[in-house]
């Protein structure tokens, strides 16, 4: 690939990395269509490169979040188990399910989640003075304490998220953040940071298989990795300037956008 074209890939990576780290999503939904449509990569090549970019996004953002103790590592480990189990089940049943039906249902779920995040304020109030978990919010200049509720429901919901991820190819972050926030009562910033940590572990499993099999285009992946890493560093630092309420609004807009993209993909227009 032409070196100048590779440099533009870095810019694409920066965009995906900023959004990925800011909202705890992988960024595959941004990277894969761009890599296939604008750069002519095959679906497999785009998926392989995208997974490397997702790892870079995850680690780039998680370093900042962990240093500021925003990531709930134990919660991340627990939910990652159910997500991976769901992903395995999804891979096993994929041959028996029409992908477009899942994408339409998933889009409706995303629309509903976005509306609930915007309008149902009570579902988002989880902070408590005696909470078991805490993180320091730089924007608010105070320690936010919270408890985790409905662990069983959250665990089960993450399995469903894993199944959907496996069937649709959309990373789990876009599902796991609303689950952690609305079902389990985790503040949005802790939810996005924990999701950011989790998606790196999820992406590792896929990326290493593609890599060992020689399916990763090294030069393309390198430029994407550096771009997404830089973007993730920028995105994670942006959280210092955004309060939780605004972040929820922005995340809702992102959910709407992803739902629309998925409807377009389900209809075969993308």
């Amino acid at each position: 690939m032409d070196p100048l074209l590779l440099l533009t890939l870095m810019l694409v990576g920066i965009l995906a990395g900023v959004l990925g780290a800011l909202f705890g999503i992988g960024g595959g939904i941004i990277l894969i269509p761009i890599l296939t449509i604008a750069y002519g990569l095959s679906a497999t090549e785009a998926a392989a490169v995208s997974l490397v970019g997702i790892v870079a996004t995850s680690v780039g953002g998680t370093v900042f979040y962990m240093e500021h103790k925003v990531v709930n590592v134990r919660l991340g480990l627990l939910l990652e188990i159910s997500t991976v189990i769901g992903a395995i089940v999804g891979a096993a049943v994929a041959a028996y399910i029409q992908e477009w039906i899942i994408m339409v249902i998933f889009s409706i779920v995303l629309f509903a989640s976005a509306l609930r995040m915007i309008f149902n304020k009570s579902a988002n109030v989880q902070e408590s003075d005696s909470g078991e978990f805490s993180y320091y919010d730089i924007k608010q200049d105070k320690t936010i304490r919270y408890d985790i509720h409905n662990s069983g429901a959250g665990f089960a919901a993450c399995s469903v998220a894993g199944i959907i991820s496996s069937l649709t190819g959309v990373g789990g972050g876009v599902i796991k953040v609303p689950i952690m926030n609305m079902v389990m009562g985790v503040p949005i910033k802790a939810a996005t940071a924990t999701s950011s940590y989790m998606i790196g572990i999820t992406a590792f499993s896929g990326a290493i298989i593609y890599f060992i099999n020689g399916l990763v285009i090294l030069d393309v992946a390198a430029f994407i990795a550096v771009g997404t890493f830089l973007g993730a560093v920028i995105g994670s630092h942006l959280t210092k300037k955004i309060d939780g309420a605004s972040m929820k609004k922005y995340f809702s807009v992102l959910l709407f956008a992803i739902a629309v993209i998925m409807i377009i993909q389900a209809g075969g227009w993308l």
Binding site: V59, M66, R74, V84, I85, A91, A221, F229
Partner: protein, 89 residues
């Protein structure tokens, strides 16, 4: 240092090293020296999340937090099963 601090440090250094090697690899690639350095840098980058989990397990074991050591080991095993399923497909 506690588990969170150890994990953060492991992730920080593994990412710094791998991204530095990838950048050196990009320069080498642009100067027509091949993609060997890129391969090493990207491999280290891909391995960094699981390296962080390994450090988490060791830190939890040092803290004698057996319940969460078990949870983390289960995660590694389930991930291995997931990878095996992907390979066999």
């Amino acid at each position: 240092m506690n588990m969170e601090e150890n994990t953060a440090m492991a992730l920080k250094y593994s990412v710094m090293i791998s991204i530095t090697i990838v950048v050196i690899g990009i320069v080498a690639f642009l100067l027509n020296y091949g993609t060997n350095i890129l391969w090493v840098g990207l491999l280290l980058l891909i391995l960094s999340p699981i390296f962080a989990v390994a450090v988490t397990i060791v830190s939890l074991a040092i803290e004698k937090d057996r319940k969460w050591v078990f949870v983390a080991i289960v995660l590694i095993c389930i991930s291995a099963v997931g990878m095996l399923v992907s390979i066999l497909k």
